[in-house]
């Protein structure tokens, strides 16, 4: 049997990779994808714990996370399209007008 620690470590690795990706990617679509990766890493942890604690609730939460992710993808991608129309670029560092 695979120990839960391994699932959790995998989840941690994927989450950290996602976070790293958010930070180092300048392409706004890539950033967004890394956010999705982070969400999935969390889902993995949820399901692992659900199994470990023998409760269904964790899985229900994963279900909700997926729904939110879908909504987020719809709105987020619409915003990316708008951003591209406005700036003619996908470079997130060009979105820097909201500052002092």
């Amino acid at each position: 049997m695979v120990p839960i620690t391994h699932y959790l470590m995998l989840s941690a690795i994927l989450f950290a990779l996602g976070a790293l990706g958010v930070l180092i990617n300048r392409n706004i679509i890539s950033m967004f994808m890394c956010v999705e990766l982070m969400l999935n890493a969390v889902n993995l942890a949820f399901i692992a714990f659900s199994r470990f604690l023998n409760q269904v609730d964790g899985q229900i939460f994963v279900f909700f996370v997926m729904i939110v992710a879908a909504a987020e993808a719809a709105v987020g991608l619409a915003l990316i399209v708008l951003f591209f129309r406005d700036k003619s670029t996908l470079d997130v560092d060009q979105a820097n007008s909201l500052k002092w």
């Binding site: 976070a19 958010v22 930070l23 997130v92 560092d93 979105a95 820097n96 007008s97 909201l98 002092w100």
Partner: protein, 645 residues
Amino acid sequence: MPYNFENGFWVLILFPLLGAAVNGLMGKRFPAGMVALIACFMSGLSFLVAFGTFLQFSNLPGESRVLSKHLFTWIESGNFVASFGLLLDPLSMVMILIITGVGFLIHVYSTRYMREHPGFYRYFAYLNLFIFMMSVLALADNYLMMFIGWEGVGLCSYLLIGYYFDRKSAGDAAKKAFIVNRVGDAGFILGVLLIFRTFQSVEFIPVFEQVVRRFPEAEASFGILSAIALLLFVGAIGKSAQIPLYVWLPDAMEGPTPVSALIHAATMVTAGVYLTARSAALYSRTPEVLALVASIGAITALFAALIATVQTDIKRVLAYSTVSQLGYMFIAVGVGAFGAGIFHLFTHAFFKALLFLGAGSVILALHHEQNLFKMGGLRRYLPITSLTMWIGTLAISGIPPFAGFFSKDEILAKAYESPLGSPLLWALGLVAAGLTAFYMFRLMFLTFHGRGHHEKHPPREDSNSVSIPLLFLALFSLIAGWIGLPPYLGINRFEHFLEPSFRYQYQHGASETAHTSELLLASVTILAAVLGIAVSYLLYVRKPGTSGKLASRFPSVYRILERKFYVDEIYDFLVVHPLYRLAVRTLWRTIDVRLIDGTVNGTGSFFQAWGHLLKRIQAGYARIYASWVLWGALLVILYCYFSLA
């Protein structure tokens, strides 16, 4: 009667307020004629109501001649109640008649006098406001409301002295009047507070009734009543320009001449006398304070008359004359003859307003020339002004049968024979009377007689709106005294009329004197006036150069008089300069600039510096923000880890 003034007299204060509001708020868009019409109409209406009230009022039996009208409760706090109520008794009736009557005539006069000046509507709005405030002062039924009127007329006075605000001297004079008056007003308000503390009320009648009950005898030594009376008198000194606070009144002549006539001669400056007479119940029980009042009045009367003898500005002569005449009124109230004081106030209002308006007419005809020595020979060009001013001069000099004689004679007689009076007071007043005749005749000789240089541009009398008020005032200057005849000639109706107002007064013994001695006193008074006239005639008509010779013969005396006893300089050195230095060096440069501004600016620059430092965090890069979010998450996790472990 179609209208019952007994209940409706209070509307008379509304008209000027309405006029002030209309002219003040919208007058800028009205043509000048309409502004003048509104202002004159409102003050005229006010006078009509006052006069109608007077007609009904005088038909009432003597003891019921106290009408009060409670309009609304103004302040109510604990046992302190100040109502907005009016009290009409003979004393306030006299004041109201003067205020609205003379006020109306001066409104009419102003329509011509102020015609060429910009801000016509502003002038009339202030003037109407003044009538309102003065009426509130006179009709108030409690000290606090009187104080409103008191401050209100002070404000109007300030605004009107500084009416030519583009002239620095006018602005300075306005400030001086305002600040000097503040000193007196502080005394007034403290007196009112002390009254409330002592009697738990500020309304006249309850206070006076308590005074009568609790102090059946006069205070033998300085007590609470004396303290109240003294504080109120400080207020009266400030408003009525007595030593030591008289300095603002001569400077107040910077204002337009009709204002000098109305505010600084006939009405506002007499408010101090009115206050003292109104508080007769208090003052008559404090002989020590009364002695002070009489002394200050006598010294002021003499002192101001002395200064007036060498002034060269026509309005300044009249201003010092006003100070001197106010001194007379204080002599009267100071010897317990409140009625005589008010009588002089009444006659003085007519002849001094007349003299000021006449002076205004001269100034107008000479295109704003005010120096007496550049006038002369105006008799031929300004016949009406000349005639009316002569009447006023005779009145102020105390020549029978003009109004001033009766009131001045009564004051001097009372100063001599009253239990509170003394021959010294009488002597001071007598000298001042002689000086008054001297400087007034000097003014008249220099202005209207002798040779002038007006052939090129002959000055001419102005329109009817100038001469009609002059004629009216001249008429009253002639006859107003006849209602207060001395005992050897008839009945003093005026004092009899006023009696209900002074029913709470404490009587200091009887003052029965034989008619013969009164006649003697009167003759001496007339003699003094005649002597003054004779000297004046000698110096300025018979031998016109003599005055200059006298001046060069006694240069120090002349200089002291001409510089008005250096009072302004002394005040400057003792009060103004130290205060100024304190204000500039300590309060402004140190406390304000360093401490207060430093704190405020320091707070600002402190946060600005931090802002400069912290704004780098908000760089505008989404990824940097994301890293801050992660740093935050990391901190939370670290906290959880170490707190759980």
